[in-house]
């Protein structure tokens, strides 16, 4: 953005190469990034890679019983086996796909829902805004984990239920943020102009408002993902989230927790995998916020 603003004719002349200049800009920003952000980015890339290529990386299947229960590390099973005799390493790898994938889907759904409603409230104002805001206030006055437990006790635990419930509960936070940042943009003259020339609500949202509120929303996406990821893991740990035999880090901790009393650190691995990803996302979000808002502490 800043480069184009400094040399407007340059951007006009070299329009076809703009894409490349974007890449170089990204690369330049990355080179200046602090080591913490680099660490975070690398960890995230490794997780994504593991999630996508899980079937190729895992030595065994995620559900097959291939050994005795609780076999020690080393030999045929690098990280031993779990309480039923399934390969721990394979389940860890598939867990990246299942746990992270489900949390990611939930965060996206929550963003689409909360973002759309938040923008609608900000643009329409009046009673629509009042109605939506007050409903969100009420939903937010119940702790999300508790609300999720109530809903899960009614509909039962399954992956689609889990995704929908968490997305709806989490979208309240997205609603608040997108509404408040959009309110600053809605009063701008160019939005008024678009409205006067008769553009419809979705067009104004997408073309006039969304591009201007992107940075805080992207940062928020990282934080929301962390929150959803931790909550779903917590629910799975309680035995009420992702159900067996799907390999999932939260329930793997619960299933193998007995090992800890023998001084075996196996149950800490899935828990650590969860923590590492959240720390990394947080580090990247911190860096991103610094870059985009010039936020100084």
């Amino acid at each position: 953005m800043t480069e184009n603003a400094q040399s407007p004719h340059n951007a006009m002349l070299v329009a076809p190469i703009r894409r490349r200049s974007k890449m170089t800009r990204l690369w330049r920003a990355l080179r200046k990034a602090p080591p913490s952000a680099w660490f975070g980015l690398i960890v995230i890339v490794v997780y994504i890679f593991t999630a996508i290529f899980a079937p190729l990386l895992a030595p065994y299947s995620e559900t097959e019983l291939i050994g005795g229960a609780f076999e020690p590390w080393g030999g045929k099973f690098i990280l031993g086996t779990d309480q039923l005799g399934r390969d721990m390493l394979s389940r860890m790898i598939y867990g990246a796909r299942n746990t992270v994938g489900i949390a990611f889907l939930t965060a996206i759904l929550s963003f689409v829902l909360g973002g759309a409603l938040g923008l609608t409230a900000a643009i329409s104002g009046r009673w629509i805004d009042q109605l939506l805001s007050r409903s969100v206030d009420v939903l937010m006055s119940i702790p999300p984990l508790i609300f999720a437990l109530v809903l899960l006790s009614i509909v039962g635990s399954s992956v689609p239920n889990l995704i929908i419930i968490m997305a709806v509960l989490d979208s309240t936070r997205v609603f608040r943020l997108s509404r408040s940042v959009a309110q600053g943009v809605v009063v701008m003259d160019y939005v008024e102009a678009a409205r006067l020339r008769g553009e419809k609500l979705p067009w104004i949202m997408r073309r006039e408002i969304l591009p201007n509120i992107m940075p805080p929303l992207v940062a928020e996406f990282g934080l929301r993902f962390c929150f959803v990821f931790l909550t779903i893991s917590a629910l799975s740990f309680l035995g009420l989230g992702i159900q067996p035999p799907t390999a999932d880090w939260g329930s793997m901790v619960r299933d193998n927790a007995a090992l800890i009393t023998y001084g075996d650190i196996t149950p800490l691995l899935p828990a650590g995998a969860i923590a590492l990803l959240t720390v990394s996302v947080n580090l990247v979000v911190d860096w991103f916020l610094h870059k985009t808002s010039g936020l100084r502490e």
Partner: protein, 325 residues
């Protein structure tokens, strides 16, 4: 009327209204969502007759409105209804939800207040120090550690503590089971590890928020003004910063105590502590709706009360409201 009093009363009214709406939501979610309780409680093999008898005995055959008012009316008199587990079994042993929640709520409050008593003063001191010595090694170390603690799931911290303090070096016990007749010191000893976990979780949150609040405050123009006119650091903090800092600090405390409400569910599960969180999780997996609803209402009530308290303290401690022009 005094503006402070008026605002406080407004907030109180709003809090009660919220609680009322929340109770409606908790009781109505059953109607809005599909779910066959009789089958879930009695098993798939239940005959239509037993299902009908069960629905009649727990009142599922009545209209939602009637059921809601019966439920709320009961709660106002301290009766949370009867557990499905006892309504399903034909033996006459009745289990009242209030009897199940009562003692466990006390246990949970014991655990949560122990954690709060340690975490609140500690985090305020650490947060203020981090803010005053901003960008020092101390500040950075505190920042990295607290970020890690926030990002870790509660059960990760809990198992690490068990690993080191109960297994490798058996100083404390990993099972925090407490019984009614236990002496006070034994109780304290039993809850050391769960308390420590909760302290770690909210300490990090509170510290970061306190630090941000203080830094925000120290950057405001009137602090710079007092510094320019030659006030000593002590004067700046005591006379200019603190009166305005109370509101954000109390807000931070209340928000995190509300966060304890959620953290407690997981920590109780790890240490098998007989608290209300455990009760709720068990009830959810058994789909024992009256117990789930009762627990949810208690949790929501605590959460709303704490937020209300934060609001009121913010209003009462606001210098601009206290000294109106």
């Amino acid at each position: 009327m005094n503006p402070v009093l008026r605002t406080v009363l407004q907030r109180l009214g709003l809090g009660i209204a919220t609680l009322f709406v929340v109770s409606i939501i908790i009781s109505l979610t059953i109607e809005l969502l599909p779910g066959d309780f009789a089958k879930a409680v009695l098993g798939q093999a239940a005959t239509p007759e037993t299902v009908a008898a069960f629905q009649h005995s727990v009142g599922l055959d009545q209209s939602p409105v009637v059921r809601y008012f019966k439920w709320v009316g009961g709660i106002l008199q301290g009766d949370f209804g009867e557990s499905y587990a006892s309504a399903g079994s034909l033996a006459g042993h009745r289990r009242l939800v209030a009897d199940m929640i009562g003692p466990r709520l006390l246990n949970t409050l014991f655990l949560a207040s122990a954690a709060a008593l340690i975490a609140v003063p500690l985090s305020l001191v650490l947060g203020m120090m981090a803010a005053l010595y901003r960008n020092s090694i101390f500040d950075r170390a505190v920042n990295v550690i607290s970020l890690t603690a926030i990002s870790s799931p509660e059960f990760f911290l809990a198992y690490i503590l068990i690993m080191f303090l109960a297994v490798k070096f058996p100083i404390f016990i990993s099972l925090a089971s407490i019984t009614p007749g236990m002496p006070f010191l034994d109780r304290l000893y039993a809850i050391v590890l769960p308390t420590l976990t909760l302290v770690l979780v909210i300490l990090a949150h509170m510290m970061r928020m306190t630090r941000a609040a203080i830094i925000n405050l120290l950057a405001s123009p009137y602090i710079e003004m007092s510094r320019l006119k030659g006030a000593t650091p002590k004067q700046i903090i005591m006379r200019h910063a603190l009166p305005n800092a109370w509101a954000p600090i109390v807000n931070v405390i209340a928000l995190n105590l509300a966060y304890l409400v959620v953290g407690v569910v997981i920590v109780e599960a790890v240490f098998t502590y007989p608290g209300i969180g455990q009760l709720m999780v068990d009830a959810v997996s058994k789909r024992d709706q009256p117990v789930v609803q009762g627990c949810a209402l208690v949790f929501a009530m605590t959460y709303i009360l704490l937020n209300l308290l934060a609001d009121i303290v913010t209003i009462v401690s606001n210098p601009r409201l206290l000294h109106p022009r």
